[in-house]
């Protein structure tokens, strides 16, 4: 089966020098390759500075890679012109870590969920609002909250709203960039269940960026580990977790264990 997304030797440099003519560069992505099968979940694990968010932005066509390809549904979206890329952006959506910052706090839930639909110029305001209410239903936000402003919602409700917004244009791929990290544990469980339901109802594919191995173990079919702009290890989730081969993977896994003198001894929740 053709992968929904295939990233091939992606490179991204940022200019880093202080002077305008400087040739110093920051290498954010150093030849990243990965693929995601349709309706599956790839967890991308790495620490800050590993390049995960840069990769997310490139895949979502919000950043231009320096070189390499991004094959989405068989087309190299990285090679397209801006006008053509625009057609693909609705199919790849992003959900960010902190909904307090990714949602306009003064907009109502209805306004936020319906905003992406304005891109579809052939819809009326009423149609957009109806669709937005359906989206709120999908993410289990009670309709009575539709007129609440984002800042009045709880953390979990805000993140559900961010997911509703991401669903508005019927995407194929949703990139979740640490989307659960800022939430309480019990709320993480709720949102995790929601994501699984939506994946099954809408045939969604997820790129789940996280540093939480436990959640990755739970949600992912495949895991890829990133370090300093490169994928250092990847494979089926159970293989990577049970027999990690790369040092970075091993030290990330060790970091999730309770702190003891001897790793391997300690409470398991």
């Amino acid at each position: 089966m053709q992968p929904l997304l295939r990233v091939d030797k992606l490179v991204k440099h940022y200019a880093a020098g202080r002077s305008a003519g400087s040739r110093d560069k920051l290498v954010a992505l150093d030849g990243v390759s990965l693929s995601i099968a349709p309706q599956s979940t790839l967890a991308l694990i790495g620490e800050s500075g590993s390049g995960k968010s840069t990769l997310a932005l490139c895949i979502a066509c919000l950043e231009h890679p320096t070189s390499g390809s991004i094959w989405f549904e068989g087309i190299d979206v990285a090679a397209l012109h801006e006008n053509q890329q625009r057609k693909f952006r609705p199919r790849i959506q992003l959900v960010f870590q902190d909904p307090a910052r990714s949602l306009n706090p003064r907009w109502t839930a209805l306004e936020i969920a319906s905003e992406p639909l304005i891109v579809r110029q052939d819809t009326s305001k009423q149609e957009r609002e109806n669709k937005a209410l359906e989206l709120l239903d999908c993410v289990a936000i009670p309709r009575r909250l539709a007129s609440q402003r984002a800042h009045e919602l709880s953390g979990g409700q805000k993140q559900r709203l961010a997911i509703a917004r991401a669903l508005a244009l019927e995407p194929k791929l949703i990139i979740l960039d640490e989307a659960l990290s800022a939430l309480d544990c019990s709320v993480q469980a709720q949102i995790s269940n929601l994501l699984l339901e939506l994946q099954s109802s809408f045939g969604l594919t997820y790129l789940f960026i996280t540093h939480d191995f436990a959640m990755a173990a739970h949600l992912a079919d495949q895991i890829a580990v990133m370090d300093r702009g490169r994928i250092v290890e990847s494979g089926p989730a159970e293989n990577v977790l049970r027999s990690p081969s790369h040092q970075v993977t091993r030290s990330l896994l060790a970091a999730t264990l309770p702190i003891t003198e001897t790793p391997g001894v300690g409470l398991e929740l």
Binding site: Q190, L241, A255, L269
Partner: protein, 327 residues
Amino acid sequence: MTPILEVKNLHVAYSARAGEICPALVGVNFVLGPGEILGVLGESGSGKSTLAASLLQLLPLNGKIQQGEILFEGKDLLRVSPQELRRTRGGRIGLIFQEPSSSLHPTIQVGRQLTDVLSAHESLDRRTLREKTSQLFAAVFPTGAERISRSYPHELSGGQRQRVLIAQAIACRPSLVIADEPTASLDPTTQREILLLFRTLRQKFSLAMIFITHNPSLLTDLADRILVLYAGRVAETGPTAKVLSSPKHPYTEALLQCLPSHLREDQNMRKARLHVIAGDPPNLSLPAKGCLFEPRCTQRMEVCKGSEPPPFTVSELHEVSCFKFAG
């Protein structure tokens, strides 16, 4: 052994713009021994940050400590002079808050920011100040302490900034440090290093700590005891191992069941629904009758609706505020 901190019957409330009073902490009692680490476990709205702020009377303007006693080294902090309170804050009790990026002055070198803490509390000559600053940096930075001391906050990583805050908190050799979600914004490996650092500091300086978090897995092997907060009330307190492996309060039980297990043994459980706690946390501005967890509790009984459960002792040092354990 005299406890370092005794909190008795603490009630704290916030007043909203419209005038209604919203209780944030109700009848909170706990004791902390010297060199002990107490983990305060609570989710958003549980009152955990209010607790941290109340202990040193750093509540916002609309917050009020309505009643209770906060006995630190025998003295009630709610009744000491403002000067004594100022000496205690930062001097006898250290504080570490959540956002290292907003707690440090952006245009002052971090070494100087540490020296400032020292000179605020102790009258030392310049050389002694410099020496003490170096020692403190060396205690939290195993390598590169000198270079880091001369850096600005934006030149440091999140983990390094957090270490600077920890150095500030222990600068005046306090007997107690209160840390509110100190590892929230950090990567797992950095988080683990910070937790290990806390453990080392506790051993080296006999430091008592209150470690506030919403993540139970951080408390394993760090905290001696855990206090679980729900809706401003203490739900359960007990030794860490007991509370985490056999929680007694239905809320604690439900919370721990929400966690995806560490490297699940049974791969068929992957992508299965996680256990959730039904419903939402209560609206604390509405009057409370009965146990506040009752609407969401799978083990509720008739008596739970009528009055709030007091703490019942289930075993040594393990108390649960739940009618399941009455008599």
